[in-house]
């Protein structure tokens, strides 16, 4: 058995068991406890060797499986008497596990059906509702009891608002100067442009996928533009912006700490 699948690909021990049952082509109505226990433990063991974080639920299931397996291995006569309260019939446990797996499986399948619906719905776009407040002429003082807005409506409104905002807000953020000084980043951009000897695309200057880095680079570009050290050109709307050395490039002081922010 291969272990290409990581444990976080599973929603929990039941999901993992369903995966093993499918993979081993086991009949879910007649689960061979010894085999499934071995495979389950094997999987957990490999995950542990890969130093992956195993949630406690997985270990709990492992314990249940081991208990079930060991009881089943014992000859019936050696088992404690049935009227002992602590005795659990392994067949009952197996039955319960099977029922749990079947229950879970049907909801997992329902979730898959919903996912398809979700994907279909996500492909459809609509315009924001038109603003009709100018036409609204309700009795403003009355608040109907039925159909009241709820806290969830409130939160939903706020959330939508913030999502919209995220697209529209101008860039304005505080940068920790200890992490990545803008002056240093300005030097970096100037050096890149000087050694390239031709205009570089705006995007190519943002190659490092770190948020702080992106923001500092952007601020550095703004500062360089202000100093006329660089020129930005865009041929058409939505085209990539090309950046070239500007008239003030020669006057640009390349000392490490020329700009203290």
């Amino acid at each position: 058995m291969e272990y290409k699948v990581k444990i976080d690909a599973f929603e929990g021990p039941l999901d993992l068991l369903l995966h093993l049952i499918k993979k081993l082509e086991i009949d879910i109505y007649d689960i061979p406890v010894a085999e499934i226990t071995d495979q389950y433990l094997d999987f957990i063991h490999h995950m542990q060797k890969l130093e992956l974080n195993i949630a406690s639920e997985y270990l709990l299931m492992a314990a249940t499986l081991i208990a079930m397996k060991s009881k089943m291995l014992l000859p019936k006569t050696e088992l404690q008497s049935v009227d002992d309260d602590s005795y659990e019939d392994p067949e009952m446990t197996r039955e319960a596990l099977m029922q749990q797996l079947l229950d879970y499986r049907q909801y997992k399948e329902a979730a898959e059906a919903l996912k398809e619906n979700e994907q279909g719905r996500m492909q459809l776009y609509a315009k924001p509702p038109s603003d009709l407040t100018a036409y609204e002429n309700n009795d403003l003082t009355s608040i109907p009891i039925s159909g009241r807005a709820t806290v969830h409506d409130l939160l939903h409104a706020f959330r939508r608002l913030m999502l919209k905002n995220k697209l529209e807000k101008p860039l304005n953020t505080k940068i920790d100067r200890q992490v990545l000084p803008i002056g240093q980043q300005m030097n970096l951009v100037m050096n890149k442009l000087a050694s390239a000897k031709h205009p570089l695309s705006f995007q190519s200057l943002f190659s490092y996928p770190d948020r702080t880095h992106l923001i500092v680079t952007f601020l550095a570009l703004l500062e360089l533009m202000k100093l006329n050290a660089i020129q930005c050109m865009q041929n058409e709307n939505f085209d990539d912006i090309m950046i070239n050395l500007g008239e003030g490039a020669d006057d640009f002081e390349t000392g490490e700490n020329s700009f203290d922010y």
Binding site: E11, G12, P13, L14, D15, D27, I28, Y29, A55, E57, M61, Q100, L102, D103, Y104, R105, Q106, Y107, K108, E109, A110, A111, E112, A113, L114, K115, N117, E118, Q119, G120, R121, M122, Q123, L124, Y125, A126, K127, P128, P129, S130, L132, T150, H152, D153, L155, H156, R159, R160, L163, K164, K166, L167
Partner: protein, 200 residues
């Protein structure tokens, strides 16, 4: 005053445009067009739906909402429309959230403990996500000492998954039956296989 059918079409189309993403309820159309019964309105909208669908020159379509309709772009438009959308689509739900909301939809009202028993894992975070997204809400408290919160789905749940009402959810018992049938066929093969092995 009796309006021509074309005029009614055009008024409903106008309302669909104005309400955009929110969509319009049959009841609201009826309030604006009291000379049409709700059934007549539904008939006309179904006709309009058909027209949009078959009109290759149109990038629009009418989709169902709980008790209403909404004008959206056709699915093929998604690549063109995405960048112009004023309200960006949120990320799809995680597997955990999907499983949790599926359980709630079929079993509501249902407590966190019930959900965790079925899923076999903690589900608090998934529940929180679903509440924040407005897909589920608290619908009551369980009897007994714990008075656990009971959850149910909201109208937004229907909207989100493009369902008219809860009856459109695929029936679970059917699914169970299908599984049984499937397993039975499998068993049949297996038995034959065992027979074969025995004979060897």
């Amino acid at each position: 005053m009796i309006l021509k059918r074309e005029k009614i079409h055009s008024i409903i189309e106008g309302l669909l445009y104005i309400t955009g993403e929110d969509g319009v309820q049959v009841e609201q159309i009826h309030k604006v067009l009291p000379e049409c019964t709700r059934d007549e309105i539904s008939d006309i909208v179904e006709q309009m739906k058909e027209n949009y669908q078959t009109n290759e020159s149109s990038g629009l379509m009418i989709t169902d909402l709980p008790n209403g309709y909404r004008l959206t772009t056709k699915p093929f438009m998604k690549d063109y429309a995405k960048q112009f959308a004023a309200i960006p689509k949120t990320a799809p739900l995680s597997q955990a959230a999907l499983e949790t909301v599926a359980i709630i939809a079929y079993k509501q009202p249902v407590s966190r403990i019930d959900i965790e028993e079925i899923r076999g894992v903690k589900s608090e975070r998934a529940l929180q996500t679903l509440v924040v997204k407005g897909l589920i809400k608290e619908v009551g408290r369980a009897e007994g000492s714990g008075r656990a919160i009971l959850y149910g789905v909201t109208p937004l749940f229907l909207d989100y998954f493009g369902l008219h009402d809860l009856s459109e959810l695929p029936p679970l018992t059917e699914m169970m039956k299908q599984q049984n049938e499937h397993v039975d066929t499998y068993d049949l093969f297996y038995d034959q296989y065992k027979e074969t092995i025995k004979d060897l």
